[in-house]
């Protein structure tokens, strides 16, 4: 090469054909040394695919990659690692039954006598890294027992352990609390400034793009739409580039609805999967026509609360009443029949079957009822398909036909499918967890408007989200959960995002204490 270049990675005309889907269509991208480069795009735009190609996980159908000006063949992650590329994947790549230290050193373990794993060394290296970057982890803990926030940290430590100079972060903040996201950004800035690393970050949160990146590239339908300097961009511009039309960040219209208590929870106590107390004396009530947001750092009992209320987890003490009917450890079937629908936090694990077709997924819960089951036995395929096709249309689920396996859908469309199904039951109560996790802006807008519409029609909605913006945007009332206990209850507008964080982390006691001492 005759000229010096800042260009670290150049992707030229990369295409990737999956059976039936052209995920990348002649995509080109330049990454400069020392920059933070954001990539945005709707669900299924092909961002992850592109990154997986750079990381050697997918073989491109055509196209070339240049590294420091030289053409390279990246045939496996090992090649990428050897080029100094590290990647944090959209889905965790952690071994649940292994310890944190084992996960971090996986692939390049420190050794004793060349063949034995050196656990001590692995632990001390983990501790060292953890200190250097301020990412606290317990090296001895098994990953399966850790919260997603911690798991995200481990993923980043893994990459740093391998000494990567280029870090690809695919939606690292999707499951983080604002505070955790902020911490992560600090680490990222430090990595770039102090250590000269290069970062590629994918996110659906446009504020984050604006806050952290130097440049941003936008993808749509497998094509690269363009790259711009972040200072020249704003949310509106990016959103338009992403969806190819104007996106209106409308203020959501909330109607006043007469209050009627439909769900009241009294003194619930329950345990988590590790048999530790996850909910302790939780009591609250929910009215028709309101959205009650549950704010909390993940792992503080939100998941367990939702599971208890939907019959997926047993409670030890307490009870709740649905429109006056008392519930203690009833089955999900019985609870559904009382009029509770549920959008679960983990759509892949709980909310759908990826092997089953879309129409089969849409059928769950009403498969034994008329007119979809004639006399409760014979499936009425015609009626079932009609309903499924109607929902696909209403909820703008992007699929050629309802006869395809749900696993073929992109994450955002899967989420829309789950929401479509649960909303279609028209229950008086909806329990909605993480409705927009990993979902693109266009879809977020759509889902939010659907939730509000439900509320305006008089449904009582319990909303659990790790995304504080979402909580504040949708809720009428907010309660905070910390270590299984309710630490505060507020009407929306009563408290700032910043202050609520103190309730979510149990530091409100300090606040109260400080307040007291001030007096």
């Amino acid at each position: 090469m005759y000229y010096m270049t800042k260009k670290l990675i150049q992707v030229k005309n990369i295409s990737k054909q999956f059976p039936g889907v052209l995920a990348n269509d002649k995509v080109s991208l330049d990454i400069e040394k020392g920059e933070i480069h954001a990539i945005v795009g709707e669900n299924g735009a092909g961002k992850s695919t592109l990154m997986n190609i750079i990381y050697g996980l997918y073989e491109p159908t055509e196209g070339e990659i240049f590294f420091e000006g030289e053409p390279v063949e990246i045939n496996s992650p090992l090649d990428a690692i050897n080029l100094g590329i590290g990647m944090v994947h959209q889905h965790f790549m952690l071994l649940p039954s292994f310890t944190v230290a084992e996960n971090i050193v996986l692939g390049t373990e420190p050794r004793k006598n060349r063949i034995f794993m050196d656990f001590k060394e692995a632990v001390s290296r983990t501790e060292e890294l953890s200190k250097t970057y301020g990412l606290k982890v317990d090296p001895y803990r098994k990953v399966e027992s850790l919260s997603v926030g911690i798991q995200q940290r481990i993923e980043i430590l893994k990459v740093l352990y391998k000494g990567a100079d280029i870090l690809i972060l695919d939606e690292p903040t999707a499951v983080l609390t604002p505070q955790e996201a902020e911490d992560l950004f600090n680490v990222i800035r430090k990595l770039v400034k102090d250590l000269g690393k290069t970062i590629i970050i994918i996110t659906h949160k446009l504020q984050e793009v604006l806050a952290i990146s130097d440049r941003v590239s936008v993808m749509r339908h497998g094509k690269m739409i363009g790259t711009l300097e972040t200072k020249d961009a704003d949310e509106q511009i990016l959103a338009e580039m992403m969806v190819g039309r104007e996106v209106l960040f409308e203020k959501l219209h909330k109607e006043k609805i007469p209050k009627e208590k439909v769900l009241s929870v009294k003194g619930i106590k329950a345990r988590d999967n590790r048999d530790l107390i996850a909910l302790d004396q939780v009591s609250f009530s929910l009215n028709a026509g309101e959205i009650l947001g549950i704010a909390g750092v993940e792992g503080n009992g939100q998941s367990e609360l939702v599971e208890v209320l939907t019959g997926l987890r047993k409670m030890e003490e307490g009870t709740f009443t649905v429109k006056g009917i008392e519930v203690f450890n009833k089955s999900p079937r019985e609870i559904r029949d009382l009029g509770i629908a549920h959008v679960p936090e983990d759509r892949l694990a709980t909310g759908l079957s990826s092997e089953a077709t879309i129409w089969e997924n849409m059928l769950m819960g009403i498969q034994h009822t008329e007119p979809y089951a004639i006399k409760g036995i014979h499936m009425n395929k015609k009626k079932i398909m009609e309903r499924s096709d109607r929902l696909i249309e209403e909820f703008d689920i992007r699929t050629p036909t309802g006869d395809l396996p749900a696993g073929n859908l992109s994450g955002g469309n899967m989420q829309k499918m789950v929401i479509a199904r649960e909303f279609s039951f028209n229950t008086p109560i909806l329990i909605i967890a993480q409705p927009t996790r990993g979902v693109d802006v266009g879809a977020i807008e759509f889902i939010h408007s659907q939730i509000i519409e439900k509320r305006n029609k008089g449904a009582a909605i319990l909303l659990v989200s790790a995304d504080l913006d979402e909580i504040f945007r949708l809720s009428d009332r907010i309660i905070t959960l910390y270590e299984g206990k309710i630490t505060g209850e507020f009407l929306n507008g009563e408290i700032s995002k910043k202050d609520i964080g103190l309730y979510m982390t149990g530091k409100h006691m300090d606040l109260a204490g400080r307040g007291a001492s001030n007096e």
């Binding site: 079937r333 029949d337 909310g351 759908l352 990826s354 498969q367 499936m379 036909t401």
Partner: protein, 360 residues
């Protein structure tokens, strides 16, 4: 929309046919290496399986236990619980039928046969209920318990027919012959094909309907695909699993019943040469599709009758047939993989071609 799906089915059938052809070709090579003529060999095989009414009857006679145990496998595997204990359930079901047939000798024909069928299904189902319960209640792996229970059933029935229920006529390790009115009539002279094939057809239809057309079939399938999702959606996944297991056991029990009522007219110590295993294989090959089970059972039945004729007619040893059969199975199992590899290779070639065009 539907043409797309049809295309997929067609593709599957084409690649299945290709796989079978490829393995038959390998079989032909093996025969040639052994100095035999594949034309003569396969000719004899085909003739043996379908050459006459009698041969066809034999082929179909072989499908009865295969279809029933195959459907049993399909139903349990589809529901996410693995019943490997079909052999044991079959033995106990067969014994139960024989017991009815030698005890209630005064019952009229119809009632007697129905009673024997119910008894066999019940006993088979109950024997499957135990591992099902252990699985659902205590999370004890059903694969290991059902394998163990197979051996237990074989030994237990062996005890029964050698001591309390041993026949007093002839040196035979079996029960007495069941009363005349329990015998299902034979359909073709010299062949063991009997009216149980109609029962089988009826049961297969019923199971097909249950699995593919009813809400309960949907429940089974979704429990098998993602039991958490099923529970979330209001299905009692544990109960469903136990029901699937019991149903599966009952079908295996029925396979045993028909061996007694239609073929041997008594319980014999080694009544099954491993029908349940063959049935499992059949179901796995067609990915637990009930219609597929029937078609594949006929194929396997034909292979079995045909290979016997081939051995007798050409002196190609039957072991060689086993070798060829295992290769056929392997190729069918690899069908999807071969297809994918071929597509990848083809795609790669196209891209290279394109690149070549660009360069030129």
């Amino acid at each position: 929309m539907n043409s797309k799906l049809f295309k997929k089915d067609l593709e599957y059938i084409v690649s299945l046919v290709l796989s079978i052809s490829a393995s038959l070709l390998i079989g032909a090579l093996i025969m040639m290496a052994n100095g035999r003529s594949p034309a003569v060999g396969y000719g004899a095989l085909l003739k043996g399986a379908f050459g006459s009414k009698y041969n066809m009857a034999n082929t179909f006679a072989k499908t009865v236990p295969l279809v029933l145990t195959g459907l049993a496998t399909a139903i349990s595997f589809r529901s996410g619980i693995f019943n490997i204990g079909g052999e044991g359930q079959l033995y106990l079901g067969a014994f139960a039928a024989a017991y009815v047939g030698i005890t209630f000798t005064t019952l009229p024909k119809g009632i007697g046969i129905i009673l024997a069928i119910i008894a066999g299904a019940l006993v088979g189902g109950l024997y499957a209920f135990v591992p099902g319960l252990l699985k659902v209640k205590y999370k004890i792996d059903e694969v290991i318990t059902t394998i163990m229970l197979n051996t237990v059933a074989v030994f237990f029935t062996s005890y029964l027919v050698n001591y309390p229920f041993a026949t007093t006529r002839g040196k035979l390790n079996g029960t007495e012959i069941i009363a005349d009115q329990f015998h299902l009539s034979r359909l073709i002279r010299l062949s063991t094909l009997n009216t149980s094939i109609f029962f089988m057809g009826f049961i297969a239809l019923l199971i097909y309907y249950l699995m593919e057309k009813t809400s309960t079939g949907y429940d089974f399938k979704l429990v098998g695909q993602n039991s958490l999702f099923a529970r979330f959606g209001g299905i009692n996944d544990r109960r469903q699993m136990i029901i699937a297991m019991v149903l599966s056991g009952a079908l295996c029990g029925l396979a045993g019943v028909f061996e007694v009522l239609g073929v041997h007219y008594r319980f014999l110590q080694n009544i099954s040469p491993g029908y349940a295993w063959d049935g499992m294989l059949v179901a796995l090959i067609v990915k637990n599709n009930p219609i597929g089970v029937i078609i594949m059972s006929i194929f396997f039945g034909a292979l079995k009758t045909g290979s016997i004729s081939m051995e007798n007619a050409t002196s190609i040893p039957s072991e060689l047939v086993l070798v060829i059969q295992s290769i056929i199975i392997l190729f069918i199992a690899g069908e999807a993989g071969f297809k994918e590899k071929f597509k990848e290779w083809n795609a790669g070639r196209k891209v290279k071609q394109k690149a070549g065009e660009r360069n030129a």
